[in-house]
Structure formats: structure tokens, C-alpha cells
């Protein structure tokens, strides 16, 4: 009796001022969604509300459930916003049970053999993470511990459990009438990525580059007619656990774009496999007194079925991922502060758990530099030797400069570039790599694979460097290099060999080279054309100043 009273109190507690008028805005007139790459979006809604002159509670239905409440801003109300509330105690199996403590429910047991269902009235005595205890005329029992199919039926939804999390504001008194208010908030569970498709013509060094925005809605929200933008650039974001907006932690903790890209990829995989089921589900209430041994755990699937949750729902959720392509028309780009923003020129539908693709770039004639490259350095992973033929296979590299004169000159948001080799009329997938955010004027180079035909052999294993007769003066030691680069292709190719530090030293030097070297990003570099089925020797000595040259004496 005491318990049921307590529950009553809880329900009668008004969530808002009881004497205040309440206006419910059921849906927005229009929605704008700005999607960022770090799995969040700024949602801006315009809503028309009819306000009374008195102080009023204005409730916004249909906001996206993943909203970050601290980010919510309601503007253009024409009155003082006294407070804003976001109630996240949503209707869920767990919430229903928790709020039903002390209340009467109906327990249905089904006889597995006969299929006969028997119902009894029960009162929930306790419900928490360690199980549920209920009481009937027969006595007290624990739920889901007997091995019998047991189901609870509730008469009604407790008052303060919302079907959806709800955003509401209290407004002071003011002029009565219709107004357009703007509600904006950041919501998680959206994302976008740039994808590039490049058709490269090997003979002419031309590239046809198209860029696609792939935008994703992982939430259950459905937008019928939305203005959609995406923002390219790296925003400083703070961890959501610490009051920020990011679901991948502080973005400043990622020291380079690569780390950030892999964190995004990981999060993307999580979101893709996430069924949207919440943690606050029925499983929260599992718990029994010790049963067994021997204890045969009921498979999760059976347990879910016993509780009326069918796994096939999850499968259906995943099937709803639809790829929609809009081909032909390009999105519009504008500068937003220090970022690039791409705006879909038409209003679009964005479904729940949907993927959509739109074109943002098409440059049909970009000058590219296709070459075969290798960097020899102590810290270069790429200079490993292929076990099968004891040779180093050169990387197939494609470089371009992002300028108008070279046929490009557009900001390129970072993303994956997929290269297709055009061979006559046919296109063959040749490989892929990623680029980082690339402003106009900045060169890019990507690696699309290793060449089976353009290879390098090193005469003699690179061992320790050797002091010279003058080492006592110069502190320098040198390593002799003798490279043979071979082209097995029936056409000439451009080769670029780079030499970085090979051992712990300063003042990198290359001497006695049989071909003059240039510098590239701190390295020494050679660039030459290998004729069809030709080969070339490259010999030089690479050296530097070491702490003690005598370490390298025999």
C-alpha cells in the first residue's frame, strides 16, 4: 500500500507549471540539415506557432531524438525564454517497468504445450537492473525466472513518460498571435563523406575526376522536404561525455588527418551495425536467483523471443539502407567561415537510416602526372622487398596540382579516390587511396598500387655505413647504393626514386651520383624515363654526420 502511494506521488508531480497554458507545435514548416563529417548535423527548423498572450509552455514535437540538448536554441519567439527543458525519460520497456513500481499490471503465462494463456493481476514490487519482483494473490515471485513464458501487460503509459524525448520552452507573457520561430540544435547520427571517381587515360596523362557526396542518416528521423548542406573542414569538437557534441572524442586529440579518418571509419562501422536498439531495453531487467548448476543459458535469441522481441526486426532495419543517386546536377559550393559548404540546390527527402549520393564536382580534363615511385629511407614502410622475386616493386603514383591551368582549381574535401584506368573504351578498376582536405593551389599525390612490371633491385644488402679517410674531420660516414630499375612494360614509364635518412645521422648528403639529384620534401630525388622494356642503373653514396664515426669502423 505504501509502495503504490509512492508511485502515485511520482506520477502526480507536474513536470511543468500546472497553471501554464501549453501550445504544442506538432511539426516544422521547413527543415534545414547541415551535415558534418564527424557524425553530427545542425538541424534548423522553422515552426509556426499560435501563442496566447499569457505565459506559455511551448512544446516541440518531432525533434530528432539524438539531439544534444545543450545545443538547442529557440529564436524569434519575440518574448523572453524563461527556461528550456528536454525530457529524455522516454517510453521504453525499462522506463515502463521503472515507473510501474507499485502499480498493478497483468501477468500472462502461456502453457507451451496447450497454448492456453492464463492471466493474473500482479503488482510490481521492485524493478531494477538485477531483476523484477512482482506480487500476486499467491505470493511474491521473480519475473522470467520460472522458465515459463511470462508476459506483462500494462494498462496505460505513465504520465511523465514521453513517447519521444521532448523539447519544450517556457515563454513569458507577450503579444498574442501567430509567429514563426526558429528551433536549431545539433543532433548526432548523421554523417557524410566525399568519394571520388577518377578515370585516368594512361597514354595522355589526363584524368576525368568526379566527386560525390555520400550522406548518411543513421537516425530514425525522416525528413520529407529538407534543405541539405554538408560542411567540409575539420571542426574542433569536444567529447559528448564532457558536454561537447562529438561521438568520437575530442577531435583535437587526433594529431593528424589519418588518425581522425580511421576514428571516423570505426564510428561509421559502429553506426552501420548498430540496430538502433537502445541499452535501456528489456535486457536491463534480467536477473534471477541462482539456478543450476548445470546451467544451460538460454540463447539470446530465444530469450528475446520469449520477451516478445523478434530478431528479424533488426534485419529489417538494416535492409532499409537505401542508396539514392542523383546524377547529372551538381551541388552549390560556398565558403562558410574557414570551411567549404556544399548545398543541395533542391529540397530533398532524407529517409530514416538512408544513404544518399549527390555529385559535387566534375572536372573532365585534369592534367595528371603518372609515375612509378619508391622512397628509400629507414622510416619508409614502402621500401620492403617482395619475398617472391627479391625485388622492390615500385608504387604506381598519380599526382596533380589543384589549379585551374591544370584543369582543376576546386577545393577537394578529403575522401577516397577510386582510380579507373581507361583502356580504349573499357575501364578497369586500378586501385584507390585517400586524399586529405586539399585547397586550391596545393598538389596531391596518391598511390594506387604496386607495379608488377616496374621493379628495383639493390646490389648487395644495405649494411652499415662506411667511414672515409676524412671521417675524423667531417664526422661523416657513407653507404654505397647501387640500384637497378627495370621496366617490363612495352612502353616507357616515368620513375621517381627518393632517398631519405638511412641511419641515425644529421645533414643528409648524397654524393658521387651517376645522375644529378634534386630535392623533394627534404629528401634527395631522381626522376627519369625508363624506355619500354628498358633498365637503368642508379649509383650514389648516401651519408650524414654521426655522433661517432668510429662506431662504423671494422
Amino acid at each position: 500500500m505504501r509502495a503504490s502511494l509512492a508511485a502515485l506521488c511520482l506520477l502526480s508531480a507536474p513536470v511543468f507549471g500546472a497553471d501554464e497554458a501549453r501550445v504544442i507545435s506538432s511539426q516544422p514548416d521547413s527543415v534545414s540539415i547541415t551535415i558534418y563529417r564527424d557524425f553530427l548535423a545542425l538541424i534548423t527548423e522553422t515552426r509556426t506557432v499560435d501563442l496566447p498572450a499569457d505565459a506559455v509552455t511551448l512544446e516541440f514535437d518531432g525533434v530528432v531524438e539524438t539531439l544534444i540538448p545543450q545545443s538547442a536554441v529557440v529564436a524569434d519567439t519575440g518574448r523572453a525564454v524563461q527556461e528550456a527543458n528536454y525530457d529524455f525519460d522516454r517510453l521504453s520497456p525499462a522506463g515502463l517497468l521503472r515507473k510501474s513500481i507499485g502499480k498493478q499490471v497483468t501477468l500472462t503465462r502461456t502453457n507451451r504445450r496447450t497454448g492456453k494463456a492464463s492471466q493474473v493481476a500482479a503488482t510490481i514490487v521492485s524493478a531494477n537492473g538485477d531483476g523484477v519482483v512482482f506480487s500476486t494473490l499467491e505470493g511474491k515471485e521473480a519475473l522470467h525466472c520460472s522458465g515459463l513464458p511470462e508476459k506483462l501487460t500494462f494498462d496505460e503509459i505513465p504520465d511523465n513518460l514521453k513517447q519521444k524525448p521532448t523539447l519544450s520552452i517556457h515563454l513569458a507573457a507577450g503579444a498574442a498571435g501567430k509567429r514563426q520561430v526558429r528551433v536549431s540544435y545539433i543532433a548526432q547520427g548523421f554523417g557524410w563523406a566525399a568519394d571520388y571517381v577518377a578515370h585516368v587515360n594512361a597514354d595522355t596523362s589526363r584524368m576525368d575526376l568526379s566527386g560525390w557526396v555520400t550522406l548518411r542518416n543513421f537516425t530514425g528521423a525522416r525528413f520529407a522536404d529538407a534543405q541539405v548542406q554538408v560542411v567540409a573542414g575539420r571542426l574542433n569538437l569536444l567529447d559528448a561525455e564532457e558536454g561537447g557534441s562529438s561521438s568520437i572524442g575530442d577531435t583535437s586529440q587526433y594529431h593528424n588527418e589519418k588518425d581522425l579518418a580511421s576514428a571516423r571509419k570505426e564510428r561509421l562501422e559502429d553506426l552501420e551495425t548498430d540496430s538502433g536498439d537502445d541499452l535501456d531495453g528489456l535486457s536491463y531487467f534480467q536477473g534471477c536467483y541462482p539456478l543450476g548448476p548445470p546451467y544451460f543459458p538460454v540463447p539470446r535469441k530465444m530469450r528475446r523471443e520469449a520477451m516478445g522481441v523478434v530478431d528479424s526486426i533488426l534485419a529489417q532495419d538494416l535492409e532499409e539502407i537505401v542508396v539514392t543517386g542523383f546524377r547529372g546536377s551538381l551541388v552549390e559550393r560556398e565558403n562558410l567561415a574557414d570551411y567549404q559548404m556544399y548545398r543541395l540546390p533542391w529540397k530533398t527527402e532524407l529517409g530514416a537510416r538512408q544513404t544518399k549520393q549527390v555529385a559535387f564536382l566534375h572536372k573532365p580534363d585534369v592534367t595528371v602526372d603518372r609515375f612509378y615511385g619508391l622512397r628509400i629511407s629507414a622510416d619508409a614502410e614502402e621500401s620492403e622487398v617482395d619475398q617472391s622475386d627479391d625485388r622492390m616493386h615500385l608504387h604506381i603514383r598519380i599526382g596533380w596540382k589543384n589549379t585551374k591551368t591544370d584543369g582543376l582549381g576546386e577545393p577537394l574535401p578529403g575522401g577516397i579516390v577510386r582510380i579507373f584506368d581507361r583502356n580504349g573504351g573499357e575501364s578497369v578498376f586500378a586501385g584507390e587511396d585517400s586524399i586529405e582536405d586539399t585547397p586550391v593551389g596545393v598538389p596531391s599525390e596518391i598511390t594506387i598500387g604496386r607495379s608488377p612490371d616496374v621493379t628495383l633491385a639493390m646490389q648487395g644488402e644495405p649494411e652499415d655505413p662506411i667511414p672515409t679517410a676524412l671521417s675524423f674531420l667531417t664526422k661523416r660516414v657513407y653507404m654505397p647504393m647501387e640500384l637497378t630499375i627495370t621496366n617490363a612494360k612495352p612502353r616507357p614509364v616515368v620513375v621517381e626514386i627518393r632517398q631519405g635518412y638511412l641511419f641515425e645521422s644529421t645533414d643528409l648528403r648524397v654524393v658521387d651520383a651517376n645522375l644529378p639529384a634534386t630535392r623533394k620534401s627534404g629528401d634527395f630525388a631522381w626522376r627519369f624515363t625508363l624506355p619500354a622494356n628498358g633498365e637503368r642503373q642508379l649509383t650514389y653514396r648516401v651519408g650524414g654526420k654521426v655522433q661517432d664515426y668510429r662506431d662504423f669502423e671494422d
Binding site: 508531480a13 545543450q70 529524455f88 502453457n111 574542433n236 536467483y289 548448476p293 574557414d338 586529405e436
Partner: protein, 459 residues
Amino acid sequence: MRCATWAVIGLFGTTAFAADSGEDRALSLTIYNQNLALVEHVRPLKLAAGRQRVEFAGVSAQIVPETVSFSAANLDLIEQNFDYDLLTPTKLMEKAVGGKVRLVRTNPATGAETSETAEVLSTTGGTVLRIGSRIEVLRDDNLPARVIFDKVPDNLRARPTLSVLVDAEQPIDQDVKLTYLSHGLSWAADYVAVFDELRGALSVQGWITLTNTSGTTFTNARAQLVAGDLHITDSESAWVNDQRNKAQRIAGTASGTAQPLADYYVYPIKQLTTIADKQDKQVSFLESANVKASKGYEVSFGGFDSSDQPLSAQVRVRFSNSKDAGLGEQMPSGVVRVYARDARGQPQFIGEDRIGHTSAGSEIALRIGDAFDVTVTPTVLQTNRINKRTTEYQMSYLVRNAKGTPIVLTLRQDDLWRTNEVRAESIKGRRTDADSFAWDVPVAANGEATLTFTLRQGW
């Protein structure tokens, strides 16, 4: 029957009892931004004379029981109990050891039910029962068997419950005061800042976000919020505090309008407020439409490396919360979300940063994000070992600006060794620290500029 002998007293929200007492009652909350609140209930209490137990329903479910204090005139407190032994199926069975339960089995083939009385012998690793003269393990055959208990033990509860044992010399009808600390209530400041680059102005709105995850709804409470980091013996919050002040550049010395409480600042919420369980509540506390602000580009390098891939410059928005600059208020620790208007005039989110508790008159540089169009490509031109302890680096930094406006990039070389000097430089730089130098590199619109310098460092 038990509850009739207990005085279940005027908990807020128990409309039935509140109506009976018809007395004034109050609830006040002092909320700290470290997941902690001081809760004070004033409740009417009506008692007969004698020793009795008084149970307080509706207190925070995350009460810190050792901080409870109960004050009432003419009433001797004998003991104070906080029962948090929650009723669970396991506990129910444990408490039944030595007692009798009823066992109802269902025949899986026929569906027929049979009922037996069993004595619970043990619950260690499994439930051992004595049925008549047999000893059995409960459900070791995995067949259905219901266990029915006669009663729930007194001290097992659906929710944590606070109770006191008191001795009243005479019948009592008065207000009593109950205070305690509770977890599950916290607040944070959140700022919305719209940056207008052309006007060099920020429009700042400050919101206090109260979060209630205490499991309890607080109705019609007088709430006040305390800003300042209390020392709490909790290593995790100490770490968080260390992280906070990154955006603050110069500490201010001015006073704002918030009311000081000892060494902290207090923000009272004007009207009585209801904070529902699982609710975030936002109350505006600061608004200024015109705060002077500027934007800057920064990049810092902690070592000497070459990179093929250009690095993006960081964008900072700098402002002061001094009166002169248009603000003149202290700003409690929180997240600042920065917006800029797009070509259509709609505010778009451009990044967020945290500020620490910031006294009025401080200089703040918010880190917004990385500039898409301002990049730096570092190249080590030459390194040279001068002696065992000293190395010289010849660096070249190529700064590209793809924006249509000229910029100035502040490039820092940080974390140098103990002795360090710049021996040559293409642009005059400055020492910013014992172990860092900075250069301001101007770059024309859609242009490039190269900073080269020779720096010698040693230890």
C-alpha cells in the same frame, strides 16, 4: 499494516499528505558543477509522542547517506538509517534461506501443475532445496518451475530509503529540515556565440544546463548554482579540472555581477523551478549582442620534420570578457558553440571549445577548427650536428592561402630543448617562451609565402 504505524510524512509531491498538512514547505537545491548538489527539504511532520520510525520518501535516489542531517525541535534523533538493500530476485532467495517457499512445477508434456513446499538450504552458486526428504537443485533440469515467496523481507526495498528513528516527548506538528548531498544533479554552462567576421563581433548567449539523473523529480525548488571548482576527493574530477583552461590566454582581474559565495560565484534561478528526473533544463544567464572579437590563424610544430602533406592552420576566435569589449561578466566553465552565418544568413555551426571558470576581463582564444584554405608544408632543409649536445636545423615553411582575403598566420616552434636560439630568419620572429618562438607570416590573398629560419638548440 506496517505503513499505518509509520508516519509517512509530507514528502513533496505526495499531494494527499501535503493537502492534509496544509503547511508551508520548501525545497532548495544548491547545485555544483561537479555532479553534486546540496538538497534541503523543509517538511511538515505530525507525530504522536513516543519512539518511532520516520521514513522520508522522495529524497534523491543518489543521496550520499553519510551527509544527511535532520533537524527538528523537541525531537531526539536516535538513529538514522539509509537502506539501499534493493529488492532483487537474488536477494529475495538469499533472505529465504532457512525458510519455506512454494514450488510450482509445470509438466512440459501435459501442462499440468503440481505444487510443493520447499525449504531453501543454500543459494551459493545455485539454489539447493529440501522437498520433503529429498534434496534438489532448483531448475537443474532446465524445466519450468515457479518459486513463490510468502513475503518480502522488511529491509529489502524497491528504492533506496532514508529513515530516522526518533523519540518525541510530546505529540508534534511542526516543520522539520532535512539536508544532504546528492549525486546525479549537475549543471554546466553552455554558450552560443555567433561570430560576425566582417563586423569583428560576437553575439554571446550563456545558458545554464541543469541535468537531473538522480532518479528523483524535484518539484517547485528554489535552485542556485555554484560556479567554482570545489576540492572533492575524486581523482577523476581533478583531471577534468586540469583540462579546462586551455582556451584562456590572459586571466582577468575584474568582477562581474554574479553574487559571490565565499570564493565561488552563485547564480540563483529566479523563479521556483521543477527539475524532472531525466531532464535537462536550460536557463539563460548571460546575453550580449556585441562583443568585440577577432579571428586568427595559428599553427604550432613540436619538432623538425618534413611532410609531403600540408598541415592545416588552426582557426582561433579571440575575445575578451571585459566590460570595454562589451561583456564584463565572469563566465563559468562550459562549452562554447560557435556559429557563423552562411550566404543566406542562416547560422551554421563552425566548432566548439571549452572555457574554464573565467573571471571578468580575461582574454579568451577559442579553438574553432582547422582552416580548409590555409595550409603549411614543412621541409627540413638541413640539419647539422654542431657538437654532442647541440644541433642546428634549417627549416622552410611554405604557407599557402587559398582564401580571397589576405591573412596573417602565427607559426610557433614549440617544445625546444633547454638552450635555443634563432640564428637566421626570413621574417622577424619573437621568443614567446623559454622553449618556443613565434613568427607572424603575412600571406596575400590566393598567395603563398615561405618562412625560413635556422634554429640551434641543445641541452
